[in-house]
Symmetry: C2
Subunit: 292 residues, 2 copies
């Protein structure tokens, strides 16, 4: 495994590997088993696996959040090597945003402006869109791997990749969860033991919605009440519990097709997000009948 | 020569040509001898020459200007074939901006916000930046060719190509001029004979500034007075006569290095732009001494 710090060195390292498939796993470091899932998917499908590690200041809208983000490069490199990564691209901020940098890739509409876009501010997804564009253009991979936990980020990236015509296939891997159901996140390390127990109400709330939808409840307000009850029992007041189209993030009025249920909540001072796709039995049947 | 209408067909046509150099000449059609200069530069340097023809609605901030823009595809294709173009990429608006399109590439700072950016509105260079990004990613050429007449457009594109790391070399060809000095432009066809004669004041004003700078005048205000006198004699009130850094478009206070002089003016109802780079003898000497 080699570690490169500049786009030039990355391209040099990839030049002789383009006859085979190249997979890119973009990360902000603090690698955990969620990332392992992505690295293994790439390792299984591609001839060359590139992992990028870059804590992107442009997508942090709170300086405290950026400052508190875990930085664990030595452990990250060890895990990457163990997972068979060929090339780690770990640039510093001056390589990604040199003096005079003045370009932003921006996605508009509910996919970028609601939920995380509203809570974290417009700059968040602008920062994500710009850095992901840069990473994709630096590596020009055949495939790039993202986790379903960041569903809105994935939808924003899917939008910009289609709109700009970046020649890459996006592979979305299912959310990786601890045995108790908590979605894996670099932020989980900040939870106290008590907070971690309370945080389990988030996946339980998603499960309650999944079960209720499967039982035929298709009204988002009725489904939301199930989630709220579970969260409230653990003293969690969510920032949002949203029922949206998984691609456009437009709110849905009835669960008559697969719908993304997304939750964001602070547990103590740690902000967590999680989501799942739910469908009523009828919605699933309709989708299958429609060939989807 | 083949004509393709979709990104997919363009990529298919280029797939077996990537062992050699690919050159892209992006145009909005209405091809004239200015474009010929670009096509010949590409033909001389590259193995495959791609010309794109797309009247980009996103960069027109006046609907009347878009409606009046000349559409001459049959003649354009004949000229492209005559100049040895291999592939013409001529998509329609729905191919470039399909339903749901929601992504913008945006450059900030004086390079995009002053002069043409101010006169034509912020959407103009957003439209240019977005479509050029798409064209470059569709063709992934080794080189792309632009005319120096659109100096600010070139500077915006240079900025976004550097910032996003698009792997392409930009080649800027000198402004092509008619024998009488008028910069070639698709808009020139709209000038009446009398307007065309008056329009010659624009290149004469640039020449007056060039001569005055060569004679040692380094104060932009004094230089501007020379330009204004020439323009006024032909009854032309410019929208701007600007002295700016050729890369950043920041205004310069003294011509002590090569400076871009840019003029925009309406002659009748036709809006014309032109520019040149000027330097005082001292400025040139300093630049050469500095290895520039």
């Amino acid at each position: 495994m080699i570690v490169v710090r500049t786009v030039g060195d990355l391209r040099d390292a990839l030049r002789d590997r383009r006859a085979g498939r190249i997979g890119l796993v973009p990360t902000m470091g603090a690698l955990h088993e969620g990332h392992t899932t992505l690295l293994r998917a790439a390792r299984a499908a591609d001839d060359t696996v590139v992992a990028s590690i870059f804590i992107n200041p442009a997508q942090f809208t709170e300086q405290a959040d950026l400052a508190a983000y875990p930085r664990t490069e030595a452990a990250d490199l060890a895990l990457a090597e163990q997972e068979g990564v060929d090339i780690v691209f770990a640039p510093d901020a001056a390589e990604v945003y040199p003096a005079g940098f003045a370009t932003t890739v921006s996605v508009t509409g509910p996919v970028a402006e609601t939920l995380e876009g509203a809570e974290r501010g417009r700059a968040h997804f602008d920062g994500v869109a710009t850095v992901v564009t840069k990473l994709l253009l630096a590596a020009l991979p055949d495939a790039a791997y993202f986790g379903a936990k960041d569903a809105q980020q994935v939808a924003v990236i899917r939008r910009l990749v289609a709109d700009l015509g970046i020649p890459v296939a996006l592979v979305v891997c299912p959310t990786s969860r601890d045995a108790d159901g908590l979605a894996r996140s670099s932020r989980n390390t900040r939870l106290s033991p008590g907070e971690r127990t309370r945080a389990l109400a988030i996946p339980r709330a998603l499960q309650a919605v999944t079960d209720a939808a499967a039982a035929g409840i298709s009204d988002p307000q009725a489904l939301r009440a199930r989630a709220d009850a579970v969260l409230e029992a653990s003293g969690i007041r969510p920032e949002y519990v949203a029922f949206v189209d998984p691609e456009t993030f437009a709110p849905v009025g009835v669960v008559d097709r697969p719908v993304l249920v997304a939750i964001a909540a602070r547990v103590g001072s740690t902000r967590l997000i999680d989501n799942t796709v739910v469908a009523t039995a009828q919605g699933r049947a309709d989708t299958q009948a429609g060939g989807g």
